[in-house]
């Protein structure tokens, strides 16, 4: 009996190995939210960050000339804009003082370079060039000049994995800027995000800007995310669903800022 069992094991060892490895992979999948696993992942990413360097070096080289030209143009444009903005800023300061408003725009931002855009077929993470030594911790907002990018998930010593908004587990508390309706935004597909369960009484218009609500512990208020493409009635017929086009094209993002609070 025992010998028969052993010979059975030997005959089917390839299949048993498949079951064993698949079971481990499943177990790891189920442990995704365990903080220790996240921390380990951050450390692995940090250790192996060097494999991204050739890609970064080649990318930087090829983009240098183009970037130089673009920066020159930006410099001229910004110089002109700066003079105008200074005027507006001073006016704004005066008005703020008059209205005794607290200045809420002083976020402490840490600039970071995007080192890679992930290896998996689905683009749902980026690795940035700052980490624990720079003061980054898990669950910090990551933003760009044009809007929300995501949040820090696994923090290594000098690099950090960022969960970006195209990850299907990403959620963001948002409000529609004009109609003041609140909702939870999540990724849909085809470069579109959605906000579901909007009351049918709410009037939301296409092209309306969507910004962070400020109700989250992670994301400060009023950071833009995107604009409304269209509104549809939900499949149940009881709510509306808003389809949002993000302002940021994640395929082209090169820099980001971590909000250090």
């Amino acid at each position: 009996m025992f010998h028969r069992f052993i010979s059975l094991l030997i005959d089917f060892y390839e299949y048993l190995l498949l079951i064993f490895l698949s079971a481990i992979a499943f177990a790891v999948l189920l442990m995704n939210e365990v903080p220790q696993v996240r921390a380990l992942q951050g450390d692995i990413a940090s250790t192996f960050a060097f494999i991204h360097y050739p890609a970064i070096w080649i990318n930087q080289l090829s983009e240098l000339i183009e970037e130089n030209q673009r920066l020159k143009e930006d410099n001229l444009r910004l110089t002109l804009l700066n003079a105008e903005m200074m005027d507006r800023y001073l006016e704004n300061q005066r008005l703020r003082q008059m209205m005794a408003f607290a200045d809420t725009s002083h976020l402490k931002l840490l600039p970071a370079k995007v080192m890679n855009r992930g290896l998996t077929p689905v683009f749902n993470s980026i690795l940035i060039s700052v980490g624990r030594l720079d003061g980054v911790r898990p669950d910090m907002a990551v933003v760009h000049q044009r809007g929300v990018v995501g949040k820090t998930v696994s923090v290594g010593e000098r690099t950090t994995l960022v969960q970006i908004f195209s990850d299907i587990n990403f959620r963001l508390s948002v409000k529609f800027q004009s109609s003041r309706v609140f909702g939870i935004l999540k990724w849909h597909s085809e470069r579109i995000a959605i906000v579901e369960n909007i009351p049918k009484t709410a009037i939301i218009h296409p092209m309306e800007i969507v910004i962070t609500s400020g109700y989250s512990d992670i994301y400060p208020a009023n950071i833009p995310f995107g604009e409304v493409l269209e509104i549809k009635t939900s499949s149940s017929g009881m709510f509306q669903v808003a389809y949002i086009q993000p302002f940021i094209d994640l395929n082209t993002i090169e820099e980001a800022f971590v909000v250090l609070k």
């Binding site: 060892y13 490895l21 890679n116 683009f123």
Partner: protein, 158 residues
């Protein structure tokens, strides 16, 4: 020892390819999976055991280096792909080219089917859309490269 060195070299080359041309060759969010090509080749040359062990290891590394929500997903799908590719060991000249390539295509498709199916769980995206928009294009894109690599490489490493 020689075999391990070869596997490490394949892993290093495919990871670098995934990082450089892999990101440049992205077409409407679909990119070829060079790491999967490596898994297919290892399975084809060394059989089911090596194929699935290599697939599991390199898949886990890809997950750890990438991110986040689905740590273990690439390990799972690449283990299956490595196991499947093991069936092709020494079969290139034994079975008809049509059957050989249909099996290769089926393995790639199963890999992407499982990958995208789990990745898009809980998302309001119909399976048909998922099939047409993600699974089939990713399979086709990777298959084209696999055909090329498979044609260029010898049928047996020994």
């Amino acid at each position: 020892m020689r075999k391990l060195l070869l596997l490490l070299t394949i892993a290093a080359i495919t990871l670098l390819l995934q990082l450089l041309p892999g990101s440049w060759m992205t077409i409407v969010d679909i990119r070829p999976d060079f790491v999967l090509l490596g898994v297919m080749l290892v399975g084809r040359f060394y059989g089911k055991v090596w194929g699935q062990c290599y697939g599991f290891t390199v898949g886990l590394l890809v997950d750890a280096l990438g991110m986040g929500s689905f740590l273990g997903l690439s390990a799972l799908t690449k283990t299956i792909a490595g196991f499947g590719a093991g069936f092709l060991k020494n079969q290139r000249h034994r079975i008809s080219p049509f059957s050989y390539h249909v099996v290769s295509l089926a393995i790639l498709f199963i890999h992407f089917f499982v990958y995208y199916f789990i990745n898009f769980r809980g998302v309001e995206i119909a399976l048909q859309v998922n099939l047409l928009r993600y699974m089939t294009p990713a399979t086709g894109y990777t298959m084209i490269l696999y055909l090329l690599v498979d044609y260029l490489l010898p049928s047996d490493l020994s």
